[in-house]
Symmetry: C2
Subunit: 86 residues, 2 copies
């Protein structure tokens, strides 16, 4: 495993990249964050944190988010690959 | 979004498929669950739940698990796609 700080930085970059992919998918569907949250059964304040890369969601919610975005978790993680650590 | 029960069943199948993918990757690396847990900084009882599909891990831990398995989260989710809901 790479050095601790490197993993921390790469993990934050992973969450940011995931957020950007989720945002792109949401806007492609023409949904607002509030509409997406409602699809997942949330009354707001869910997808905002995901898209900012600040919400550390669980696999359960990753699955629900993907379903609400009419896709699957594998597809949502497509934009998150990183070059292997040095 | 598909009916509630259908999402619940599909979500459980997703966690099971993810667990199987993680197990296959671990055994391909010749690691025990204890060795994998240690790579992630856990003293056991982490990867067992993941592989049984009973641990609802966060994206942070998904990232750490992938790094410990010398891959990335996108690759680990490869075997989890499902046919679209009926």
């Amino acid at each position: 495993m790479p050095a601790h700080d490197d993993v921390k930085t790469r993990k934050a970059a992973f969450l940011m990249a995931f957020g950007e992919t989720a945002r792109a998918r949401r806007t492609a569907l023409g949904l607002t964050q509030r509409q997406l949250d409602a699809r997942m059964g949330y009354r707001g304040k869910f997808s905002g944190g995901v898209e900012r890369g600040t919400r550390n969601l669980t696999l359960d919610n990753l699955y629900l988010l993907a379903a609400a975005l009419e896709t699957d978790p594998y597809d949502l993680l497509k934009g998150t690959q990183q070059p292997p650590p040095a």
